[in-house]
């Protein structure tokens, strides 16, 4: 087995490099599942309420498409397994992908694997070592989930089936990842392949779960869900997951043996030898750099919007009847459905602000990577360069919020059979833009004035998140709440549109941006 020489050393090396990531990932997954279980217990204290809730969700095809078939929502374990069956599968798949990718293709792409492979290390050893660690991480995930569910006094068989179903999906996708790493020469390309397979698996089971179920059998995530934890457990789908996973790994090693170190089975596509004129103008160039992020965030927020719209009309029964829920949704002051939609759109806007901040901070990463210097050594003035990126953040905010509003509006229009809900929710989402722009302005100001601390913009966003979620629960004083721009936007469709706060927020955003630009013009580059 010379092709596996020194796999053991590499395993220890990988564990050393993952010593933080794996525990954090496992902890977050377990915490999320535990909090879902705790919520489920709290929201529906009586079996009657639980039955009512189960009947509602079972009659909502949108929810079923998003989450999965309802086998046993009438008990806490079944509810958790239902809520996490598909999402948990996706998360486990992506974690396996990242773990395999980081220690195989990414190492090859950076040239580090050359150094490692030149020593006494077999050809298959890096991939084998990564797989051993990924398998261990997935087994740990399964075990921890099982123990967590048993901690909530759930039956052992269901707990084991639930843990095993998510771990099994993770293991299968480790196999998919191994294949993808052989096919593509770039790490991002390989991630794209696994991401596409994951997305297709999710979509297939969504279509199958809503329809007659046939399509779900084409999806590994569907296989995991078909183990029916906490209902009538079935164990043989686990064999399907493990069997296919193992077959993929074997195939992956066969492919690995046929390619050169650093090469992929598919040669990378060459780029254009000359640039289109649009690319060589500041705005066109900025668009090229932000294109991928724009599309990705808009698609993600569209799906987020869809999920809001699909659940909105059932908000009443899904949210149950607790003081906590009332507190969170009290602010907007409309019907419960509109409150739910308004607050959900606000949450999505807070998430979408991540795009805007990422877009502004791209300026900082371009600067740090040394790519700004040669541009500024041309006849490109600093403000024009910055304007291209800021335009992407500002216009991108509209695009991302628009995508969210469109998804929510379309789904809600269908659910409520009222076409007028589409423009209403689209407008409601877009009305949040000025608050996002204030954070864009804050990030530009940080970039211009204190570039080394520019990433503090993420801290500003985190503070807005905390104020939005914890503020009402902790009854924080008004002046604290007023610090967040999201406190000032009218929460449509529950509240009425008022122009004054939107104009004021836009003015603040403009002032912050101008401040940042002045700072950027005066400072050293690179810092």
């Amino acid at each position: 087995m010379t092709t596996l020489a020194n796999t053991g050393t590499l395993i220890r090396f990988i564990v050393r490099r993952e010593r933080l990531r794996i525990p954090v990932y496992l902890l977050v997954m377990v915490a999320l599942i535990a909090s879902t279980a705790a919520q489920s217990e709290e929201l529906y204290p009586t079996q009657a309420e639980r039955n009512e809730y189960a009947a509602t969700v079972a009659g909502n095809p949108g929810l079923i498409a998003m989450v999965g078939p309802t086998y046993a929502v009438t008990n806490v374990g079944g509810d958790v397994a239902w809520q996490w069956g598909a999402f948990g599968g996706v998360v486990a798949a992506l974690m396996s992908m990242f773990m395999v990718g980081r220690h195989t293709r990414a190492e090859e792409q950076s040239g580090r694997s050359e150094l490692v492979r030149a020593s006494v290390v077999g050809r298959n050893a890096p991939t084998a070592a990564a797989l051993v660690v990924v398998v261990a991480a997935n087994l740990l995930l399964g075990a921890l989930i099982t123990l967590t569910m048993m901690g909530f006094d759930q039956p052992a068989a269901g707990s084991i089936a639930f843990g095993a179903s998510l771990a099994g999906v993770g293991l299968l996708f480790a196999g998919v990842a191994v294949i993808a790493m052989q096919v593509s020469q770039s790490t991002s390309g390989a991630y794209g392949i696994v991401g596409a397979v994951t997305g297709a698996s999710y979509m297939l089971r969504a279509a199958g779960d809503v329809g007659n179920g046939t399509l779900s059998w084409l999806s590994p995530i569907g296989w995991g869900q078909s183990m029916r934890p906490f209902a009538d457990e079935r164990w043989w789908p686990l064999l399907l997951l493990l069997g296919f996973g193992a077959a993929l790994v074997v195939a992956g090693f066969a492919l690995l043996g046929r390619r050169d170190d650093g090469a992929g089975l598919v040669a990378p596509r060459p780029g254009p030898p000359v640039a289109l004129p649009a690319l060589t103008r500041p705005l066109g160039f900025a668009l090229r750099l932000h294109r991928g992020a724009l599309i990705g965030w808009a698609a993600g927020l569209f799906l987020g919007g869809l999920s809001i719209g699909l659940t909105g009309q059932d908000a009443d029964s899904i949210l149950g009847d607790s003081q906590q829920v009332d507190d969170i949704f009290a602010r907007a002051g409309g019907s419960l459905v509109d409150n739910y939609l308004a607050v959900s759109l606000l949450s999505m806007a807070l998430i979408g602000t991540g795009f805007a901040i990422q877009a502004v901070l791209r300026m900082r990463s371009e600067e740090s990577a040394g790519r700004l210097e040669p541009l500024l050594a041309t006849a490109l003035a600093r403000p024009r360069w910055a304007a291209g990126h800021i335009a992407m953040a500002v216009a991108g905010t509209i695009l991302v919020l628009g995508a969210c509003g469109l998804g929510a509006g379309a789904a809600d229009a269908i659910a409520s059979d009222d076409a007028g809900r589409l423009p209403l929710l689209l407008g409601s989402s877009l009305a949040l833009a000025p608050a996002v722009w204030v954070l864009v302005g804050a990030a530009v100001a940080l970039f211009g004035l204190v570039p080394r601390a520019a990433s503090a913009a993420w801290g500003v966003l985190a503070a807005c998140f905390l104020l939005a979620y914890l503020g009402p629960l902790l009854s924080l004083p008004d002046w604290v709440m007023d610090l967040s721009p999201f406190t000032h936007v009218p929460l449509l469709p529950a509240a009425d549109l008022s122009i004054a706060p939107l104009a004021a927020l836009t003015a603040i955003a403009t002032a912050l941006t101008a401040l940042g630009l002045v700072g950027f013009r005066r400072r050293d580059v690179p810092v």
């Binding site: 000359v274 640039a275 500041p282 160039f285 210097e373 500024l376 041309t378």
Partner: protein, 299 residues
């Protein structure tokens, strides 16, 4: 003729670090000027100030008759820059990066671009992430050399190039010199500076230690002498300015300060010179002496 670059008493501090400490630099229009110094001497900092990327704390800097900070954009239309460590956009092809940099400067010469791609054997269709260090360097070089500018600021531009491409680079610089362009070439490859530069400025720890033509600088240095005489040469060690003396029977080898060369040769003639070779100092020795490290004593 007016100076293309004129810098005096330039000071730049980063926190408590004094990167430039009263640096002077004069580059005449139409010359190829070598800018020498060890890592961390302040070469890149000086060039960044000349590009208006950094603002000096004190001192004067004039570039093509303008203020590098205030007139940056106007000046940049007339100059091109190649950094020492080129970083490209991972998802842009090399050709796209060349056009981007060229067009932002105000357009580039497409025939020249094609010719340079050929001479440097650079494939413009590869993506930025796929280029090796040398090829990234070529992308920046082609972008700079394909633009019709008065001044080139080159910050260790040949790092990572193979010897063949380095000679292509030298040809290109020679062509620029003949076309009357001005080049500031920072380097620590001495053969390159010796081959290309009319004048050099040597800096150390943010200060200019020497500036002049290579000929001027050699006057300050030592000549290596190897001599064979009829009688054993005596008393050489007592002569002023003689270093690293080795006497072996009728042969002697030593370095002598160029200012004492005449005395040394007069002394040697008394012993009947049979053969004599002298070597001018290489820039290498010049360089090392300026940094306080004597060249290793010849064995």
């Amino acid at each position: 003729m007016a100076n293309a670059i004129s810098v005096s008493g330039l000071v730049k501090t980063f926190g408590s670090v004094r990167a430039l400490d009263g640096l002077d630099l004069e580059v005449a229009t139409g010359e190829v000027h070598g800018f020498l110094g060890p890592n961390g001497a302040g070469k890149s900092t000086t060039i960044r100030i000349l590009l208006g990327l950094l603002r000096a704390n004190a001192g004067e800097a004039r570039l093509l008759g303008g203020d590098p900070w205030a007139d940056a954009v106007a000046l940049h239309r007339r100059l091109a820059y190649v950094p020492g460590d080129v970083s490209l956009w991972p998802n842009l092809s090399g050709g796209e990066a060349i056009d981007l940099l060229g067009n932002l400067r105000g357009g580039l010469d497409h025939a020249r671009r094609a010719e340079l791609l050929e001479r440097f054997e650079l494939d413009p269709t590869k993506k930025g992430r796929a280029y090796s260090k040398g090829n990234r360097q070529k992308v920046a070089l082609v972008a700079a050399l394909a633009s019709d500018v008065e001044l080139l600021l080159l910050d260790e531009p040949t790092s990572g190039l193979d010897p063949l491409k380095e000679s292509v680079f030298q040809e290109c610089i020679e062509e620029l010199r003949q076309a009357g362009r001005t080049v500031l070439l920072s380097s620590h490859i001495l053969a390159e500076v010796e081959a290309l530069c009319d004048r050099v400025t040597i800096i150390r720890a943010g200060k200019t230690v020497e500036s002049g033509s290579l000929g001027d600088l050699r006057h300050l240095t030592r000549t290596s002498i190897a001599v064979e005489t009829a009688r054993e040469p005596a008393d050489l060690a007592a002569l002023e300015g003689v270093h690293a003396l080795h006497v072996d029977d009728h042969r002697a080898r030593f370095d002598v300060d160029t200012s004492h060369l005449d005395d040394a040769l007069r002394h040697l003639t008394r012993f009947g010179i049979r053969s004599l070779t002298s070597q001018p100092p290489t820039l290498e020795e010049l360089f090392l002496r300026h940094y306080g490290d004597e060249p290793a004593e010849a064995a």
